[in-house]
Amino acid sequence: MIHLIMDTFLRYLKEREQEQLVKILSFMFYIFRHDDLKEMLDSNKDSLKLEAMKRIVAMIARGKNTSDLFPAVVKNVACKNIEVKKLVYVYLVRYAEEQQDLALLSISTFQRGLKDPNQLIRASALRVLSSIRVTIIVPIMMLAIKEAASDMSPYVRKTAAHAIPKLHSLDPEQKDQLIEVIEKLLADKTTLVAGSVVMAFEEVCPDRIDLIHKNYRKLCNLLIDVEEWGQVVIINMLTRYARTQFLNPNINESLLEDSSEKAFYASDDEEDEDKKAEAAALVKRKPYVMDPDHRLLLRNTKPLLQSRNAAVVMAVAQLYFHLAPKAEVGIIAKALVRLMRSHSEVQYVVLQNVATMTIKRRGMFEPYLKSFYIRSTDPTQIKILKLEVLTNLANETNISTILREFQTYIKSMDKDFVAASIQAIGRCATNIGEVRDTCLNGLVQLLSNRDELVVAESVVVIKKLLQMQPEQHSDIIKHMAKLIDNIQVPMARASILWLIGEYCEHVPKIAPDVLRKMAKTFTNEEDIVKLQIINLAAKLYLTNSKQTKLLTQYVLNLAKYDQNYDIRDRARFIRQLIVPTDKSGALSKYAKKLFLALKPAPVLESPFKDRDHFQLGSLSHLLNAKAGGYQELPEWPESAPDPSVRNVEVKDSVCARRTVLTGPEGAGVLLLQTTRGILISLFRQMTHELLHHSHSEQSSGTEDRKRGRKAVKNQKSSSESESESESSESEDESEEESEEESESDTNIRKKKTIAPSGSIKMYELLHRITGEGLAVEYCFSRQPFSPDPNMVAVQIQFTNNTNSETKNLHIEEPRLQSGMRIREFAEIGLQPSESVTVVMGIDFCDSTQAANFQLCTHTRKFFVSIQPPVGELMTPVFLTENDFKKEQGKRMSAHPRFSTPSCSIRVTATANLSRVPCGSDKECRFAGKTVSSGCLVLVTVTTKEGGRAQLTVNCEKMVIGTMLVKDIMQALSQ
């Protein structure tokens, strides 16, 4: 119908009007179609809604405006269908900014979502809420972010970190509050959060470097497990951090470099003084010792060179380039060369950075020279970058191979590339004196090339080379003078003219002739050529005025009426200067000096020189201009700031003095695994109380305490320097706080602990007979090992069955799996038939690998090993029933098994877990977490009819989970 009417209409209308009508009709059709969509959105059927939303999203994707549908769409924000909901979110985020009032209608839905028990729903609600760019809801967002930042789910906390920059860009005034949230999230220990919060830090407050101090070691240690995008951000941030906190590892070398450079420029008398001053400075400077934290960063980033993500590799490479001692930078070359096989865009960026690196550290890439050879199939921009790298890498030893390679490039079909190759040859010739003549000859041969571009480029390069030693090459200059008849490229013509003018004394016969020819064609030349003709005329006038006076006058007269004002000005200026008149001032006397002064030869420099003041790998480096939000890479500090700021406060070492708690209900440690915020505040409170307590108990005040703490720190730092792997130790600030009220006492380890009660199993470490009278037994005391909460406390009982005293009992040469650590007990001695108990700590890294070491007395050494049952690798955690269920929901690896009826005592005897209060008597629940990494371990035993039971273990660490199932099964079936 419509078509018929339209057709009849159109037939009667003129062409112009037709167009307009079509526009109007199509617009009406457009609105009509939207009505259609509105109807679908209002319907009750999800499938219709979905169809409508799909069409709307497709329109958004094409860039069509669909904002008039806003009310109809937003109504569906609470739709049950997940896909409809998701598409509505997409729409909402796109248009909320334009329809602020209507967008507010949807907010309550998200606020409800923020309270949902499911972490994924909480996260997605926060994600959408924070993406709605409506200023009115800033307070709501702030509140939501704050709450989410202390959510127990790391995924929600990650989302909170993502929301911070969104809010900051919406309302920068919230900065201070947001920084507080960032500070809190920076202290988070999960890898999921780390990348996102550092991103937020970089966007909101990149200058607040002080927030990083306490988290520095943790970030270094977590780095390898963070997702790849987070790694890039963290590494870039840590590079900047390290530049402010550590000393330049190349400080002594750079001083030497400086002195040699200065010597080159400085005049003789200055030089001596300089040298003396520098020598003094060198003497004064202490020998450089790398901060262990600096070393930690370098060590922990190195494996990431093996990442599959080019951005991560580049980030590590720039970190090494900016921070590592010269001798260690080399390792990045191999990885960067590997990246060159990737997509051409990656290659482009990597080559830009390699080009900058090769200027400063040429030796690093020299072994990989051949990897930069050019293929005819490379895109031109890649070819030119590779050429740049090859030129930078050229030195006396490899120049012949490089030049041979360049020769093949000159024959390429890609003319831009040929031009760049010729320039590269020129640069090699200026940098390496020995090949200058060879290069020059090669270039002169190119002058007879058929391609004009090649010839022109050669002329320009030859001009630069000749400037270095013009006397020897007058024949080349003559040859070039002949070329002026044929070459049309303006730049080349200008170069030839300049050459002839500059060295007209070497070619006294040809020069005036060239000027004659040029005077003829003057009016048809390009501007740069005209300027050079004037120059040539002036120079010839000064040296050979007899022959060229008239010619010069003629050229100057032509130039006087040129269209270009530069040329007119130049002509006027030169006339005044060289032609002596009555008016001409004092300057004309010096005309010769002005024009024919000895000019220094040009230095052919890489365009990548000095680019390294930008952080490599950054956008600013690539553009060679500061991009918005670029953070300058600071210079190394003169003297290192206090390294102790990075020390994480270690709780006073609390050692076991009290009776060992046993039995299922005797949970040694109470940990409230609720939100971090609560935990922290609770923890503060507790410390406070503790302080108070000790204050009243002992006369020694807080100062004593502090001293004690310092002592611990010192002890720590010394142990750190001993073994490299130990530096990670202090990072894990004890999250759990033991109930223990006992005071710090470093000597306490010698003191006897009360022997464990019968329910704790003793294991034999050394038999009486093999130990020649010394019997050693050990047990897992299930006490928190206070000097380091990540260690399992092992209680060792020595019994001396001999008649003589055993002296100097101590541990030696622990042979451990990587990551495992031992905290030894202090040396002890045993009187005959005395028995002493000591406690040592072992970090098993949540594995059941044995810790091997030597037990030494003053006379003998015994090889012993301690292998922990899996159940001892955990510490109890107190959870409420609800928390338990929530946590259980998050952990996926469940291991359901059937077994005989359960008994809670048997479970707690097998594994160091605490019982969770539970409503149903058919179920027993236990909770704990692994000592080393703090993974929750949840065990459920459900009694079924018929004397059967089901055992479920939930743990993120699969190995632990499976082993625990096996052990508990065994215990239960006994």
């Binding site: 059927k45 999800d46 499938s47 497709a58 958004i60 994707a61 094409r62 860039g63 997940i82 998701k86 598409l87 979110y89 997409v90 900014e97 994924l120 729903i121 789910s153 995924y155 993502h162 991103m199 997702e227 790849e228 494996p303 990442s307 599959r308 993500n309 951005a311 580049m314 980030a315 191999k334 060369v337 997509h343 865009e345 990656v346 960026v349 072994p367 051949k370 990897s371 050879y373 293929r375 005819s376 199939t377 895109p379 921009q381 390679e405 093949t408 024959k411 390429s412 079909m413 090339n449 058929r450 391609d451 790998g617 950054s618 956008l619 553009l623 991009a627 670029y630 996926m892 660490k957």
Partner: protein
């Protein structure tokens, strides 16, 4: 970070746009179009284009430009790598990543982009997680969806994002448990006129297709791990174990993935499996040129060289080529001057050759550039570096999987200069 993304086709139309922060007008792409115009070839468009207020970072894949708009400092490789990851994901979902495929699946594309970035920062880029969030469209599922009205979006909440092995889906089940590994090596080489090797290196990858139930823990060991001194790993590989024992130990993602890629650099000797004898010459003053090419196997360790394809860009002066191949077919495009010869398999008894003449423009002088010859070939059952897998073991699950290893050598950027 990444502000917006525009997808531009070869003819310069923007066919998809997505904004993660406030909307950036598509007129920003005008700067990009200018750059495309300036570049003679599509691959010569600079990957990073500065504009007064933004910066455009683009990648070109399958004739589609992915143009990301960024506003402030961000490592360019970060964006480039992410864009490639986006393309890989699309390929994974739709089989190809062409304009048509994107247009057909525009809603899924939009949903994917929404999940992959949050406020311009990558959120979920692991294919296993994404597949849990948004099911890839298959013909069957599309039919079912239209009938039942169900959706592509996963009903269950994705738990993968929370797991410690984010690359692996949970609850994987197969009736046939199988794990296949392909060791593919590509030889990059430049051979000079006289036939000697200027540079040769090997670029190897181990691609895996793992379909195993549950949470298997695999270890893969090599006969000669010493070869692998320059490697990059999938995040699932335990780096410490590799450092200590030179054994690959990992919980694999489900489905296809690249386990590791390695590089045997030019410092090692690389066996070149093919040689090329060539005689391409032009005589001064004559309008004819001679063209002769013979291929032959060398150092192939007894394996056949297959799927051989020779291509060469002849000088611009060449008008036509009149050649006769001893086997296979050849084509010459007089516009682009591209000669390609599909050889097939090389028979060592009867070496394939391509002989004949080229006609030049009359009166034109002899071209002074020499064409380079690009070679492609495949050799089955051979890893040219000599890498060999020793054994594959599985822990953590009870069943016995079916295991398979395949080796192949290919030509990468294999070039012969004449």
């Amino acid at each position: 970070m990444i502000h917006s993304l525009f997808l531009v086709n070869a003819s310069g139309d923007i066919f998809l746009e997505k904004h993660w922060k406030s909307v950036v007008s598509r007129s920003v792409c005008d700067y990009f179009f200018e750059a495309v115009e300036r570049a003679t070839e599509p691959e010569n468009v600079p990957p990073v284009i500065p504009t007064p207020h933004h910066c455009l970072i683009n990648v070109l894949r399958q004739r589609v430009y992915f143009v990301a708009v960024i506003q402030s400092e961000v490592p360019p490789l970060f964006v480039i790598e992410f864009l490639h990851r986006v393309v890989d994901t699309f390929q994974d979902y739709f089989g190809v990543c062409t304009e048509a495929a994107v247009k057909d699946n525009v809603v899924v594309v939009y949903e994917l982009l929404e999940e992959m970035l949050d406020n311009g920062f990558p959120l979920a880029t692991e294919s296993n997680i994404l597949k849990e969030l948004i099911k890839p469209p298959t013909i069957l599922r599309t039919v079912v969806n239209t009938i039942t009205g169900s959706t592509n979006v996963g009903e269950q909440l994705p738990t993968g994002q929370l797991s410690v092995v984010p690359w692996r889906r949970t609850g994987v089940k197969y009736t046939n448990n199988e794990a296949y590994f392909d060791v593919v090596e590509e030889i990059d080489a430049i051979i000079d006129k006289s036939g000697s090797t200027i540079t040769a290196e090997i670029q190897g990858v181990i691609d895996a297709c793992v379909k195993l139930t549950g949470m298997p823990d695999l270890t893969l060991s090599f006969m000669n791990p010493r070869l692998l001194d320059d490697v990059s790993f999938h995040p699932c590989v335990r780096f410490k174990r590799w450092e200590a024992e030179r054994i690959l130990s990992f919980v694999p993602p489900d489905g296809n993935f690249r386990l590791l890629s390695y590089h045997v650099s030019s410092q090692n000797l690389v066996a070149i499996p093919v040689y090329v004898k060539h005689n391409i010459s032009f005589r001064e003053g004559s309008s004819q040129g001679r063209f002769e090419l013979t291929l032959g196997p060398k150092q192939t360790m007894g394996k056949a060289v297959e799927s051989v394809l020779v291509s060469s860009q002849l000088p611009r002066g060449v008008l036509n080529a009149n050649l006769s191949p001893s086997q296979g077919t050849y084509t010459f495009d007089p516009v682009t001057k591209l000669l390609s010869w599909d050889v097939g398999k090389i028979n060592p008894q009867k070496l394939p050759s391509l002989k004949g003449s080229m006609s030049l423009q009359t009166g034109a002088s002899k071209p002074d550039e020499n064409p380079t010859i690009n070679l492609q070939f495949k050799i089955q059952q051979l890893a040219v570096s000599g890498l060999k897998v020793n054994r594959l073991d599985m822990y953590g699950e009870k069943y016995k999987p079916f295991k398979g290893i395949k080796y192949m050598t290919k030509a990468g950027k294999f070039q012969v200069r004449t």
